[in-house]
């Protein structure tokens, strides 16, 4: 499973995958998590932060999008400062250069737990490789409070920007963390993902060539084994999902 980096430069070759991503987001956020204000009759979840500045990390396996993450360059758009400033009232957000925001975290559906585990690990490692390639210094996010101890467990030392507060479907909190050089190697060890995970297809504009990015990825990395757990045995994370405790 590789994580494709999709930007305004190369999105022209990802039409099919972007559609799959928006459908998966609708399935997870509206149907599974019950965030009904994101509902749409067409079954795709899109908001006005899905603009030309957004960068998508799409975990692709078996030719399909299994999970995704949207990163926003906060010097252009920032959900926390634009939509949720009251949740970040204890520490300055400091949006700007070098600061990106994790949004629409969607590692997959609990109906396919093995894919969920793989996509979750791939997206985390992919986001750290992306951070290395773009010089990301800080990640921000506004997330469900239950993720906060996991960010501590990953070793990222998240700083809360406000107290956790309840909304209709649960509790959420705004946090930020500094991306450090050792985070990527630590995540590779934890998730046993020693190989490069992020793949960024070349830019493709109207006048240029076009190609199938998944075929391109496979030509570079070769065919990955289909599905299944890692050969050395399940990682703790995999064991967890297989037991049904997503």
């Amino acid at each position: 499973m590789k994580v494709h980096i999709i930007t305004s430069a190369n999105r022209a070759v990802y039409g099919r995958e972007l559609e799959q991503m928006h459908r998966l987001r609708h399935e997870i956020f509206v149907e599974e998590l019950g965030w009904t204000d994101l509902w749409s009759a067409e079954g795709v979840e899109r908001d006005d932060f899905d603009d030309e500045h957004a960068v998508y990390l799409a975990a692709i396996d078996d030719g399909r999008v299994q999970g995704s993450l949207r990163l926003l360059p906060t010097w252009k758009r920032c959900m926390i400062t634009e939509r949720f400033p009251q949740w970040a009232d204890m520490a300055p957000v400091e949006a700007g250069g070098g600061v990106w925001e994790w949004t629409r975290w969607c590692p997959g559906t609990t109906r396919r737990p093995r894919a969920l585990i793989k996509a979750r690990a791939a997206l985390i490692v992919g986001a750290l490789e992306f951070a290395r390639s773009r010089g990301v210094e800080t990640y921000l996010t506004f997330c469900e409070t239950k993720f906060l101890p996991q960010l501590v467990e990953l070793g990222w030392a998240p700083e809360p920007l406000g107290l956790p507060r309840s909304f209709d479907q649960g509790s959420a909190v705004a946090v930020r963390w500094t991306v450090r050089r050792d985070h990527l190697s630590a995540a590779r060890r934890l998730f046993r993902m020693q190989d490069t995970t992020a793949f960024e297809a070349p830019a493709c504009f109207d006048e240029g060539r076009s190609w199938d990015p998944i075929a391109l990825e496979q030509r570079i990395f070769g065919d990955a084994p289909v599905g299944g757990l890692s050969e050395v045995g399940p990682t703790p994370l995999e064991a967890m999902i297989v037991q049904g405790r997503a």
């Binding site: 520490a91 501590v152 467990e153 070793g155 107290l163 649960g170 509790s171 703790p236 994370l237």
Partner: protein, 250 residues
């Protein structure tokens, strides 16, 4: 565009404590920095407990923290985890809960009620339990207990929630590190060891180079390697880590 900062005292103190807690290296420090703030909210007992292992099996035990010895012993001796109403709610949900939240939510059966009454007899009238879901699927929790605490102030609830999450997750990291320390022996080469001993005696890289007949750059290289093997970033941490592992003596 700046946003005005809230100056709620409780929230501010919680945030400062959390910032300090992220830098602690021991349980002594963690309890001093974060435990103290928690007790200011009215909870003299604050413990990290295991609830379910990654397979979903019950694994209830106190792992770290400032416990209430008598209550912990009484609870364990009577196997109260099998009838604990608060524990049941925590296992089935995501939200933290005051003991009084549970009693106002639903009626308790006779076994559940007994636990509440006996806690009260021990002088423990209010508790706050926060679930923590680990990356491996395990469920642990942080339990705060006191004589009385204000469960109606939303800022106190939120501060207790936030501090519990950090107390639990940082405590777990410290424990894992301690366990790893005992499980994975670290071996330094004789040169690395010698360099480290000189660092412990306050020598600079240049001094060490002179003493060992090496360039200071070579000394830096040996020390960097030693830091890597010990899993630390600075040579000062390397000295501490090596001594905790019995590789050098302080």
């Amino acid at each position: 565009m700046t946003h005005p900062l809230t100056n709620s005292d409780v929230a501010r103190r919680a945030f400062d404590a959390i910032a300090q807690a992220q830098r602690v290296d021991s349980f002594v420090e963690l309890n001093h920095v974060l435990g103290k703030r928690i007790s200011e909210l009215g909870f003299d007992t604050y413990v990290g407990v295991n609830v379910l292992d990654p397979g979903g099996r019950a694994n209830h035990q106190v792992i770290f923290g400032a416990t209430h010895d008598a209550w912990e012993a009484h609870y364990a001796a009577n196997n109260y985890s099998a009838h604990d109403a608060v524990l049941r709610e925590i296992i089935s949900g995501l939200d933290p809960l005051f003991w009084s939240d549970v009693t106002s939510k639903r009626p308790l059966d006779i076994d559940e009620l007994r636990i509440y009454n006996e806690a009260a007899e021990h002088g423990l009238h209010e508790g706050f339990m926060t679930p923590i879901h680990g990356l491996d699927g395990s469920l642990s929790a942080v339990l705060l207990i006191g004589e009385h605490a204000d469960s109606h102030d939303p800022d106190i609830r939120a501060a207790a929630h936030l501090m519990s999450l950090y107390y639990g997750s940082i405590g777990t990291r410290l424990r894992r590190r301690d366990e790893l320390r005992t499980l994975t022996p670290v071996k330094l080469t004789p040169r690395q060891l010698e360099c480290l001993k000189w660092v412990r005696h306050g020598k600079s890289s240049t001094d060490i180079g002179d003493l060992m007949g090496l360039s200071s750059r070579t000394v830096e290289h040996y020390l960097a390697d030693a830091c890597n093997r010990l899993g630390v970033r600075t040579r000062a941490q390397a000295v501490v880590e090596a001594s905790l592992r019995g590789i050098i003596t302080l």
